[in-house]
Chain length 151, copies 2
Amino acid sequence: MAAEEFLLDRQLCFRLYTASRLLTQAYHPLLSAQGLTYPQYLVLLVLWEKDAQPVNDIAKRLLLETNTVTPLLKRMEAEGILTRRKGEKDARQMIVSLTPKGKNLQKELKDVPATVGSAVLCKEVTPETVPGLFTTLDGIIGQLSNKQHEF
Amino acid sequence: MAAEEFLLDRQLCFRLYTASRLLTQAYHPLLSAQGLTYPQYLVLLVLWEKDAQPVNDIAKRLLLETNTVTPLLKRMEAEGILTRRKGEKDARQMIVSLTPKGKNLQKELKDVPATVGSAVLCKEVTPETVPGLFTTLDGIIGQLSNKQHEF
DNA sequence: CTTATTTGTATCGTTCACGATGCAAAGATA
DNA sequence: TATCTTTGCATCGTGAACGATACAAATAAG
């Protein structure tokens, strides 16, 4: 009944969607042990690279909208992981900074990248094939975030 | 401040997560024109391949839990896209079947795969590179869905 | 034939995603 | 200076995801 182009096994998006969900699930036990979710972990990665950033910079880095990031940051603030204060130069900005607890989480989580990395290793995913995968995914992301593709 | 392994640009998961979100967003204008969401479109792909399946079979095919699929199916039932009826052989099952409206959606959506497909084409994503990408993603999915990886 | 276990769905609560909208501060224009 | 536009963030509503839990039908064990 289904035409060729509708076969689930031919869909790139379904594969990306599934791989993304399953890999996020792999992070779950490691992160929830520290009371974190995966998107919250991404915020930590951004702030560990550069502390004290406005909401907008964090959102842009993660390619998310502020209406996704704002509630996320509020929950993390309630957990004592970070603080949010009005910008001094620009009063519209909210500057997000790590608390000592937020900075310390890096030590608690130091084995996470390697642990998850080893979980995906298999015949098709090796230190040799990953760089190519990165390049391809970056191509997709670049193409779609350009919005030059609008129909 | 951040150690090498925590750099956002080195994370496979962030790339998958972002590529998945952006590609799903690319579907949005095409699907919402028919009142559909992307996960609902996936359910249609499954049912177009084989009509009248129990909830569990649909969930397994999509690698989702029934607690995700059940509400989704109920919304689609409310839209008149499909019907849910108790199984005759096994009264625990709910057999999901397409309505004429659900079957007709395939015609309305026939250009969707090609349209989205063309949206991702770029230097890094070509008819030559996509099969390799499929293989790698299938490897990741196979590895993680096996649950042999449990920490 | 009971009782125990497994299986198939559903319900509930929390946290994203994200379109739509609101609003105040900052910057541009008249 | 007064008005207009843009920018940065927030609020709201809806629909996923998913862990935890509940429950009835089917199956297995006694």
